[in-house]
Amino acid sequence: MRVSERDMLASRPLDKYTPEETIAELVDAVGRSPERRDLLVQMLPERISLYEGRSANATIRMRGYILAAFEQTGLPEAALPYVFEELENGRDAYLVAGAAKALRGLDTPTSRVVPFLFKAVENIRYVDDALTFERYKPRWPITNYTTALTEIFRTFGWLGAQAKSALPDLEALREERRDEFSRPIRAEIEYAIDRIRSDGRVAHACCSALPANPGLAVHSLQKEHCKGASISDIELEDQGGNTLTYETFFSRKPSIVVFFYTRCDNPNKCSLTVTKLAKLQKAIGEEQLEGLLRTAAITYDPEYDLPPRLKAYGENRGVTFSDDNRMFRARTEFRGLQEHFQLGVNFTGSTVNRHRIELFVLDSRGEIAVTFTRLQWDIQEVLNQAKALLSHGQGVG
């Protein structure tokens, strides 16, 4: 049943039962009423009911369509982390294309986005696809399709003078790496270069609209202890089959904990996260902090990721295991962890359909002190945050 646009824009709950077509209609309606674009932002967090029970592809469809709509509505700052996340780490052409289009909704072009666009080129050029945002869930054949690379290079062109710093690399793509691109994409690169060169505006270093590190959030260390009894008692099972409570592991020393699952098929996410965790462990050793800090990786998929799977996954990525360095599944009450950490994840049945990159630095009470979400975290930066907890007296409790 088609609803009126006014009804659609009125505050109405969207949940797992809302048909995708209705969601698409809402997005289209917001496109025609851009002042309501915050509605779109509210539809982006992975954990909301909207994505519950949907397949991974359905989730991609919805999110890609939402992101693409920002080109029309304008891109609010609150949506930027989602856009950057897709450009930096995304491997699905529809989402990456949507993110590239979203950037063209910025009030002011900024050179800050250039590295993200280049990263997206590298991520997507092996797995680009024909797609369209002209309508939702299109039927094929479609003759006027676009591609993720097309949208990325159009955004370069849109940036104009703000992308002057990109010219050497764009020219390298056009010259030394021309064989890696089809003729239409080479034409887009050429057009982007022309637009950048011919834009008479002054390139400025302004990036005031953008936070310095959109993925980093530092929590107040003075925050009241809000860890409920429920999280303390959550039973964890490690890669060796040993069980202990959350409290037992995540207290008395600061910890660095990441979330992942073994069936993740985006190598920029879980596989890289756990590989970097292994490198972080090495860095802890090199800085003689062993015994003062703990590391942990907790699976989103506790029913499937049994201890032998955790162990194999970690070992294959260089993780070393010890009393202070483990991989876990929550034997029961994963929901408790999900709530406590406000995890950016959702599921179809028990299978993950979407998640973000997330790392938490916990103090010696197991409280969240710092979060790194969506974007790739820097190993040294994470270690510095953990060391700061040690020097602030948040060390061994």
């Binding site: 491997r91 092996y126 797995v127 073994t262 069936r263 098929d265 190598p267 920029n268 596989s271 890289l272 590989t275 499937y304 032998p308 799977r309 162990k311 194999a312 996954y313 294959n316 990525r317 260089g318």
Partner: protein
Amino acid sequence: MRTEITIDGADSAGANYIAWAPVHSSIRLVDADGGADSVDVLLRNQNPSNGGQIVFRDAIPGAEQDTLRLRLPADGTPVDFFIAGKFRHPSVADKDAVIEVVEANTEDVLSTNALMVRIRKNANELTEDERDRFLSAFAILNGGGNGRFSAFRAMHREKTQDEAHNFPGFLAWHRAYLLDLERELQQIDPSVALPYWRFDQPAPNLFTGEFIGVADNSGTVRFDPGHPLEFWATDGLEGITRTPDFVTSGPNAEAATFTFEGNRRLVMNEARTLRLGRPEYLYARFVRMEGDPHGAAHGSFVAGFITAIDTAAKDPLFFLLHANVDRLWAKWQWVRQRFDTTNPATYEFLSNAGDPGSARVGHNLNDTMWPWNQVTGGDRPVTAPGGTLAASPTANAPGPMPTVGDMIDYQGVINSGNRLGFDYDDVRFEA
């Protein structure tokens, strides 16, 4: 009185595995009887009509002989010699190739050494025991999806394809990949060698429920109950899908073929493949075999994991397919004598990435190869699964981080130190 033979490359249990390429050895007398300054001995095969056979040389270069007479000093000074597997006489079981040393005049047996002439063979011609040992080791490596095999699967994905495909190092990369896998299988069972699927010939003994499996009507591969690969899993998914486009078993079994609407096209045969690169037989033209027969062999299935780069390594058959691709390169190398890495006919990109005229990084002669070099980021993939290349007691080469060039003189024809420790049943060693 007895003799003691030391053969280079013994494993931790003292077991020796050799192929066609010569291996340095030495022999000495122990507890010699008093009197004579030296003793003449004969080295020979204990069972000349069964099992693997050894040939002997007293020097390299030198003619190979079925028996070797040596004079051994009574004081126990070792005497050098060389052994190799006798071409076309590989072992069929572990340690079935026995060197017997006898006193030349009396025929008294002074010592025996049991080795294996371990050779990569045509999968269609394996004995049941050879087949089952291979499959058992492979199943353990897979570990029901939780084993080390998942690293090998992760190395061959759509997103890592530039490391291994479409650039000149295609053959070298896959040679290293197969060697790494084979060595890990040998850590489980040292008697295992990777067999090859000779895709330009029918292979009815390969496509059976006892070996690589038979597809049912929906394209899911079925194994006989109790088959080691019964619990094969990759990426959280049980089983294998594979639908051949040709008759695989029975008296009408065919070579790999495309079939479409009554028309048929065989994958390029060996003779045609070995003529690639003519008239100068340059590697730069030979490597086009990546399209055909390599790509064509993948494409001779209408459905299943093996039909796409991203999923091909989920099917064990993939490794047998690539073993044949590697064998074709090895044979071309022998026919055209392409082992010298200073010769552009052997390999066209003789320098390093970044040099003028060089190929993509990872594809120049002196470039180390991902993932074994553990380089990530930038032009390389974000992770490097599996670690460095597995070591082997039988050969020091190619080292944990091989270069493209390290994979070329695989038999040690130019320099014995380059020997990688494997050979194919129908590609001989020629010094």
